[in-house]
Symmetry: C2
Subunit: 226 residues, 2 copies
């Protein structure tokens, strides 16, 4: 497999799980910030010249190719360092469970709810709609985690990198975790990992700089509608 | 790998790509219709007792387990019959490209746009929002297919099963294909496949029965807003 050279992120956005996975496997990559409004990198280049869709995360590889989409990036990082056990081996039943969870988080939690709730352009009826269905979606992993610490059982995987981020940011989008003790315990459990401390210590200052510049909203939990 | 016994679908819905993949690899499965309103199977059982999320597709396996989420189901079917070449081998660069395209279709085209446009419950401002961003999303595969017949090059894969369906149904959700000759040619090309003829001949009568029963909308292209 080609070695990655650069990981493209916007702080605390949907690229956080990929950043976390890189830190979990101790992957030496340059972390490049993409401005979420202008799509410019800190060196002035237009990110869309690297990843035309303009979405993060993306991973540049040594051969000059660029891999996008969380499902692909997360599995690529996990497969680079199999000893870290961030993904079950290809072809095993557990691997399809991993893909199933990653797809659930990316389509249902991320795209259907979080993407809309954190969009600066979505009109009020659209965010209200995204919020109204969120409880039903978050209830599914909540039930699953009542009986096991991680999505695939007792092993932390890249699917947990993704779900952890979704649950961590949910309150900032107005989704209360009050109904789900299992999700709150899950976040607390994963927050103990050194990779999380490190990812947050790298991304929080970048996020605060964006808040100060007015390109990211202030970081405070949004009260759910009464 | 455990052999699948049943594939759960709702006619012409997001389970169509999985049905198409089964026909491509000549997989002997019982195709079970899930009523999109009541979630009942034709034998009266509640589908949610099989797949608690209630979403299609799902694949029952011989050991009694159930696999859900298109990304997992499509890759499982492809991997069952490697000689059919519906997915590149695990671990190859092309396999990550497959995952990348499946994830793009499932999050961007399907969940962000088509799921909303075909929802019977989404209020008008929400469907207008989904429609307003659709052109930007469909333009990405359209550009890609200007220079190659299939998403991964010259080989038809399960990612094409998924994109074919998305492009086929787009006009019925109000997304005009007029701007993209490459997408129109892509649909025409794939419609020549015997698996497509067969999948449509199985699902169309089921869909028409739902239309007659008032549980599915009539099948006619929706004019995009002027």
């Amino acid at each position: 497999m080609e070695r990655p050279t650069d990981l493209y992120i916007s702080p605390l956005s949907g690229s956080f799980p990929a950043h976390l996975a890189c830190l979990e496997v101790d992957l030496a990559v340059r972390v490049q910030r993409v401005d979420r409004k202008t799509k410019l990198l800190d060196d002035g280049r237009d990110y869309r010249s690297i990843a035309p869709k303009g979405a993060v995360p993306a991973l540049s590889l040594e051969d000059g190719s660029v891999l996008t989409e969380s499902a692909a990036v997360l599995q690529y990082i996990a497969d680079l360092v199999p000893d870290a056990n961030l993904a079950p081996a290809w072809g095993t039943p557990a691997r399809y469970r991993l893909i199933e969870w990653i797809n659930f988080v990316s389509t249902e939690l991320h795209k259907k709810h979080l993407s809309v709730l954190f969009s600066s352009r979505a009109p009020a009826p659209v965010t209200e709609w995204a919020l109204s269905g969120a409880a039903a979606s978050f209830a599914h992993p909540a039930r699953h985690l009542e009986t096991q610490p991680y999505l695939l059982g007792h092993t932390f995987t890249v699917a947990d990198c993704y779900l952890f981020w979704a649950v961590l940011v949910a309150p900032y989008g107005g989704i209360s975790l009050e109904p789900w003790p299992s999700l709150r315990a899950y976040v607390e459990r994963i927050q103990q990992r050194p990779s999380v401390t490190r990812a947050l210590s790298l991304e929080m200052p970048l996020y605060r700089a964006e808040t100060a510049a007015g390109t990211a909203p202030p970081l405070r939990p949004v009260a759910p509608p009464a």
